[in-house]
């Protein structure tokens, strides 16, 4: 057992876990942040994507100990109170989900994509960049639409800040 100390969604936490615990299980089972999903459990599907120190990573492919000292943001931490993150709002407005299982990971990856590409995003880039996230409803069309829509909204909200 080890004590892992990290910041999750802005809050400092210290959690006692077995060394073999994966970050996703620390989040789900110890902190009850069940928005982050386990899909394939083989690093392929991206349902478990969270941000660690600002980068989108697969939390099923990290030991909790590797996140010691890190700043982690999950899907629960991106809205400002009742105001959805522009990416969440765009997924809702564009119906960028069907069953919703892949959605948290899609949104966390998509925010990372927009942050890396800024205003340079086009449909081909979004499809290419989302290759680490799998939607088994095959609802990619509206997911891509939502990401492009959000890219515009995020640019506007950054300009306003």
């Amino acid at each position: 057992m080890s004590t892992v100390k990290l910041t999750v969604n802005g809050k400092a936490v210290a959690v006692d876990v077995e060394d073999r615990t994966l970050l996703v299980h620390l989040l789900r089972d110890h902190l009850n942040l069940t928005g982050t999903h386990v899909g394939c459990d083989t690093s392929q599907c991206g349902a478990c994507v969270v941000h660690m120190d600002g980068k989108a990573v697969k939390s099923c492919t990290m030991l909790a100990g590797q996140a010691d000292g890190a700043n982690v943001t999950t899907i629960e931490g991106i809205a400002k109170g009742d105001e959805l993150h522009p990416m969440q709002a765009a997924f809702r407005d564009n119906h960028g989900l069907q069953c919703g299982y892949c959605t948290p990971g899609m949104i966390m990856s998509a925010i990372d994509i927009v942050q890396r590409h800024g205003g340079q995003l086009d449909e081909t880039t979004v499809r290419h960049e989302l290759e680490g996230n799998i939607c088994r409803c095959t609802g990619y069309h509206n997911i891509v639409k939502a990401v492009l829509d959000a890219a515009g909204r995020m640019k506007v909200s950054q300009a306003a800040e």
Partner: protein, 266 residues
């Protein structure tokens, strides 16, 4: 995953000393291969020693005719490094094709070559560019480093600290990606050194892991152009065959990828 004990090393010496004190330790860098393997219970190290936060093991540096990538540098950092893009653009491009964006944020060059997966990208670059693998004990030429499937010249407890690449006159990389795993179904790295030597390496092709392709090297030495490879015969014997591609298919891919790599190199 079986029980294990996690250690975070703050220096190469500390990592080596932790390894010596453990019964069956494994070094952990990005963990994008080791952790999935541990989850499948195909590996059950008593201890995992995390190298990813050792400051001396992170960074990309160009000096003179050498590009040095420290072992715990992530694929993302290589793909976006100005020094790498300027010195060996084909190498930065190769890094941008590994896995997916989330994997590239975590996976490292040292981890990739230590694992020596027969379909991994970096081994082809090291072999074609005649790179040198630096460890905490010695320097190993790429040609002596890769020893077959998942096998390297590394001794027990030896730690890769960096890889240094001589900057080539020209280089190119072309990869047929497996659409699900993103590994190379077959990929080829071609390089022309500043002294005029031609080196070609293929990954995802041979049953013995990454390999030089002498026949293509000879053809390119006579005539550096994609069409020079048209008449080369690549035997299918000894090549990988699985549900994704027969040995004959891969033999053809070696040629086609080499042609595309030469075209990319210019």
């Amino acid at each position: 995953m079986y029980q294990t004990t996690y250690h975070r090393a703050s220096s190469v010496d500390e990592a080596a000393s932790l390894f010596g004190k453990s019964s069956e330790a494994k070094f952990l860098a990005g963990g994008q291969t080791l952790l999935p393997v541990m989850k499948q219970r195909l590996a059950s190290p008593s201890d995992v020693i995390d190298l990813a936060k050792i400051k001396d093991m992170i960074g990309v540096e160009a000096s003179g005719d050498t590009l040095t990538i420290k072992a715990a540098t992530t694929h993302y950092d290589v793909a976006t490094s100005d020094a790498a893009k300027k010195a060996i653009p084909a190498l930065a491009y190769l890094a941008s094709l590994i896995g997916d964006p989330a994997v590239r944020y975590r996976g490292t060059i040292g981890g990739s070559i230590a694992n020596n997966d027969p379909a991994a990208d970096y081994p082809a670059a090291l072999l074609a560019l005649d790179a040198t693998v630096k460890t905490n004990k010695r320097s190993i030429a790429a040609g002596d480093f890769f020893k077959g499937l998942f096998t390297t010249a590394l001794e027990d407890g030896e730690i890769i600290t960096a890889v240094s690449f001589p900057v080539p006159a020209k280089a190119g990389y072309a990869k047929m990606r497996h659409p699900a795993s993103r590994f190379a179904l077959t990929a080829v790295f071609v390089a022309q050194t500043k002294s005029g030597e031609i080196r070609v390496a293929a990954t995802g092709a041979s049953q013995s892991g990454v390999m030089r392709v002498g026949a293509i090297e000879a053809a390119l030495k006579a005539n550096w152009s994609p069409s020079a490879i048209d008449s080369v015969n690549i035997p299918a014997s000894g090549l990988l065959a699985d549900i994704h591609g027969t040995a004959d298919y891969r033999a053809n891919l070696v040629k086609v990828m080499a042609q595309r790599a030469v075209a990319a190199a210019g």
